[in-house]
Symmetry: C2
Subunit: 354 residues, 2 copies
Amino acid sequence: MDCVFSLTKFERMTIINLLYKTKGDSMSTIKDVALLANVSVTTVSRVLNRRGYISEEVRRKVEEAMEQLDYYPNQIARSLQKSQSYIIGLIVLDSNNAFFSELTKYIELFANEKNYKILLCNSNNQPKKEESYINMLKQNQVDGIIMCSHSIDIEAYTKINLPVISFDRVISNQIPYVASNNHQGGVVATEHLIGQGCKCLLHICGSMDIDVLPNKRTEGFIEVCKSNDIHFKVIESGHHNLIFDKTLMFIQESILPIIKEFDGVFCSSDLLAYALYTSVTSIGIKVPEELKIIGFDNDSFIRMLREPKLTTIAQPIKSISKLLTNKLISLIENRDSAIDDDIVDIKLIKGDTT
Amino acid sequence: MDCVFSLTKFERMTIINLLYKTKGDSMSTIKDVALLANVSVTTVSRVLNRRGYISEEVRRKVEEAMEQLDYYPNQIARSLQKSQSYIIGLIVLDSNNAFFSELTKYIELFANEKNYKILLCNSNNQPKKEESYINMLKQNQVDGIIMCSHSIDIEAYTKINLPVISFDRVISNQIPYVASNNHQGGVVATEHLIGQGCKCLLHICGSMDIDVLPNKRTEGFIEVCKSNDIHFKVIESGHHNLIFDKTLMFIQESILPIIKEFDGVFCSSDLLAYALYTSVTSIGIKVPEELKIIGFDNDSFIRMLREPKLTTIAQPIKSISKLLTNKLISLIENRDSAIDDDIVDIKLIKGDTT
């Protein structure tokens, strides 16, 4: 697929020599840096590539020399040399959504610690946009992709031919995934509502069209309801549950007319839970006295919110981000190694809405 | 600076030919695509580069042929050919903050429309991190930088030697900026508080250490207070006003002890205003009866928030993002053209806190 990888060593060296060709006096070379810092070219190269042991003093000397000479190695030439761009593609549904915004922030932070950069792509849950991003990322020779958007069929991902790691979806044996223990989340949320005295439960989830791991929240909910002989109902909110205004409209049109049949609701996101809370309290239903509400995510919006303190199932967003980033980098740097999937623990956060 | 630019045409062609060299039957070339789509190589190239007029039918034929042949032009080779990477570096303070998260989302959206990608960098307002990002972006041959973080001295930016556009800061004549009319925002907010009957005003701003355009909000506040003979005070919240918990701590330690001296507060961000609102209502102060509060930004957090509906000065985040992106792309594609600065209008959003 990647024609750079198919060049012979001689051809590569030809390119690199051409790229590193100096332009009169106006550009510094790695040799100038080595000369000024009084170290070998190999040492400068080690500092640049963050490989091998380098003492703090030597690193400082080299960095000072680079700064003095205004030397910046041409990353395009370096990526040809190493067949690596040190760029990771990150595809999220919507980087302005509180959950994905925090995931993006931490992935960027952990990638930066290992000298990788993030190319950010918002799919807005549109299959066409997601596909065109995947093609774009291949063209730009990213080293790998973190997929946090799942609007297209599995086949498209298996054809990617680059290291890929997935959040919240099982794609294939070759593509490791990271997810919260969604099933356990559904179980804990439902048991909590029953423990607080609920007899009639509603579960509002996203769309079940695509087989993603958050669907297991619904499975956990149904299992617990059945084993406790609880009357229950499941309603899908569809794909638009990332945008608050649309979520609010959905709640008002589809949930308010039937809400009085229930005394407890498990929402599959905090956004749904907050939209439900504001809608029911505005028509005089008392939370938690008449209706108990539990969300999912413990996202940065809900953590900032003071009224109400929402009861929710917390996903460990920072740990998820770290696992996604570090596992992808392992795949990139050591392509043959087997990378396990990871299922991380969730936690009940008791607020004032149950 | 950029050694790729110093190559002769012959040297460039050598590299491109090497890069485009096919690897047996396993890789398709642009010629294969042209043959299959029954068009010229020039036409395929036009479709790839989105240049010149191409009918929908021809575009479709070419795209289908590309898909059939699994053809992805090597972007590294294309960037050598065109001396462009089609990557824009975006440095923000914190991509999880509601304001910057929305700015990032829209910049990515508008860049994508013009075939550019976003390399996302979070400075976390740390000068060292911001500097290392600027160096990293130079190494990675981005085509330009959108600077939305301003923790370092102006000199560092003027040395960048790439197209740069700045949000909220005047850097130099060579670097255009986009900003809201911050002065007008300060004036409108203060006049609104006085119009609602306030006699003693407090203004909580960020840090005045660095000369950025939002400082003009404070100038507007002071001017209106003076011309209306209003008793006033200005307090700086420092650099930590992007993180809610720290903002809350600052409000409780530095503002609550003196809050009873005032009947109106103009906060320079919605985050400050929300932290103030929750802190004062928790000690029994009635808003807006005893204390009126106005914020700044109308960020996505505040727009979602139902309790309270905060009175605030709205910055047009979508327009700002579009201006920043389109102006930078103009600078990149037409380096000699003069790009004007842009100051966009703010708007008072009347909520329940005044």
